[in-house]
């Protein structure tokens, strides 16, 4: 006999694995059920975490407050003159009227996002460089545009081509494509058409004194609540969205969607619980007989419990580890087919950019232990119930 065979832990593990072989159908059913449930759960968690993290990546660039006007409870154009009513509020750094909106493209059967670039706060350091994949930034007043890479591909546009966006205004000029966004910002720009503010105003049909909303930056973000109150006093009916609530929208939205997807998977989870209940409710006749034989040849109750725990852990570790790895590969290598549309949403123009994983070692460890702990403990109960019975009674009855 080799040395390793004399090691009690190794012996126990070998005996546990051979026990799994003897009851391979049951091990396969339990391990398979656990594997599928873990893969699904981890994929949903990984995907929603990645989306939340991605949505927070641009958080710092958001204005502290976004002020828009409401008419009849619906958003409407804001007067650019409203900006001057807010500039003297204490803690307000700047107020910038913005012109942006959507244009439905029949060729696309979907909306593109038109964003106007103002000539006022455009210092040279604000020019697009890193976010451009090809071409150059806009020259304001030259009727040019920069679009998402996929949008340009879809419309068959190349640098230098001109495009007339549908507009009710005769002032809208055809725009020349001078650049496309890089793929690393695809998640933000895939449907964006960036143009001079005057062109955006013409395309979207805004008058010269109208804007979509006002972007307010604060010198002290802690004063946000006070400034919001002052803004609503000065602009009755205005809707003010704080940066905090905007980013919170994402945390809640993806958390809720992940919950909905998991709720829809309840049948799978119930199946797993039924298997677990089967294990909890008692060992099978063969297993009881095996335990009785072990006790008859000298195994103590403690030894039997360790053995059953080892068997359970062997199945659980393999199924859990494999489930988490498959969940990770499903989301980040394969792009979460069958899951992404349910959790993320869809559109005709859809960014191909892969998501960046937000998972860390603590999450993997926590997930593994949260699954493996209860699973292993469940196996102890029936083994203990079988182990405390007199082995002779079991052998005689069998």
């Amino acid at each position: 006999m080799s040395k390793s065979h004399q090691n009690p832990t190794l012996l126990l593990l070998r005996f546990a694995v051979s026990g799994l072989k003897r009851r391979r159908a049951k091990a396969l059913a339990v391990g398979g059920g656990l594997f599928f449930a873990v893969a699904l759960l981890s994929a949903v968690l990984f995907l929603s975490d990645a989306l939340r993290a991605e949505s927070q990546r641009a958080e710092a660039a958001w204005p502290h407050l976004t002020v828009s006007s409401l008419k009849g409870g619906r958003p409407t154009a804001t007067s650019v003159h409203d900006a001057s009513k807010l500039r003297d509020i204490l803690a307000v750094g700047s107020v910038r009227p913005r012109v942006w909106g959507y244009v439905f493209l029949p060729a696309l059967q979907g909306n593109v996002t038109v964003v106007g670039v103002s000539s006022e706060p455009a210092p040279p350091e604000m020019a697009l460089r890193a976010s451009l994949g090809s071409g150059r930034d806009l020259v304001l007043g030259a009727h040019e545009m920069v679009t998402g890479k996929d949008l340009a591909t879809f419309l068959g546009l190349r640098a230098g081509d001109e495009l007339g966006l549908p507009s009710v205004s005769p002032k809208a000029k055809p725009l020349k494509l001078v650049g496309t966004f890089a793929s690393n910002v695809d998640l933000y720009t895939t449907d964006v058409v960036l143009m001079d503010e005057a062109d955006a105003r013409a395309v979207l049909g805004y008058a010269d004194d109208e804007a979509t909303d006002l972007a307010v930056t604060l010198t002290n973000e802690a004063e946000s609540a006070v400034v919001v109150k002052t803004v609503t006093e000065r602009l009755p009916g205005a809707r003010v969205i704080e940066r905090g609530s905007a980013t919170r929208a994402y945390v809640l939205a993806y958390g809720r969607r992940a919950g909905l997807v998991l709720a829809a998977c309840i049948p799978v989870i119930l199946a797993l619980l039924m298997i677990a209940w089967d294990r909890l409710s008692g060992a099978g006749p063969e297993e009881r007989r095996e335990i009785a034989v072990l006790k008859a040849v000298g195994f103590s109750t403690k030894d039997v419990l360790w053995l059953k725990l080892a068997e359970s852990l062997a199945t659980g570790v393999l199924a859990t580890a494999l489930g988490i790895v498959v969940g990770y590969v499903w989301v980040f290598a394969l792009g979460a087919p069958g899951l992404r549309a349910a959790l993320v949403g869809w559109s005709v123009l859809y960014p191909d950019a892969p998501l960046t994983p937000a998972v860390d070692a603590a999450e993997v460890l926590g997930l593994s232990l949260a699954i493996l702990g209860p699973f292993a403990l469940l196996s102890i109960v029936p083994a203990w119930r079988a182990a405390i019975v007199d082995p002779m009674d079991v052998l005689r009855s069998g």
Binding site: S18, E59, G73, L252, L318, A341, W346, L349, T356, V364
Partner: protein, 113 residues
């Protein structure tokens, strides 16, 4: 399958799975570090966009900038309240069909993964 072959296969599969599991956070960290290199590009473009919302549901205008639109969108009464179809729906519509209709005879449209 002999007893030893089963044992070897089982233990090998377990060890390989555990090794792959250890690689998950390492790979995730590597991807995050790589993504950090895009921070300047994201910040640059985010200052020009209405908000930092992701362009994941551009087809529906009230979902393109959920943080700004949702409070005034149809069926939505406050920030982050449940949004209507299509985002969050369990079954996605046939995107390929829309793409073909929009651009007959070609398949140049990027499709979702």
């Amino acid at each position: 399958m002999s007893k030893n072959t089963f044992e070897t296969a089982f233990i090998s599969a377990t060890l390989l799975s555990l090794a792959a599991l250890v690689l998950v956070p390492i790979h995730a960290n590597y991807m995050r570090v790589r993504r950090r290199a895009d921070a300047s590009a994201i910040a640059e473009i985010a200052t020009r966009l209405p908000s930092g919302d992701l362009a994941l549901s551009g087809g529906a205008r009230w979902l393109r900038f959920p943080s700004l639109e949702e409070p005034g969108a149809a069926f939505a009464d406050g920030p982050a309240v449940p949004d209507p179809d299509p985002a969050g729906g369990m079954m996605a519509p046939p995107r390929e069909l829309y793409n073909e209709r929009a651009n007959p005879g070609t398949h140049a449209v990027p499709t979702s993964k």
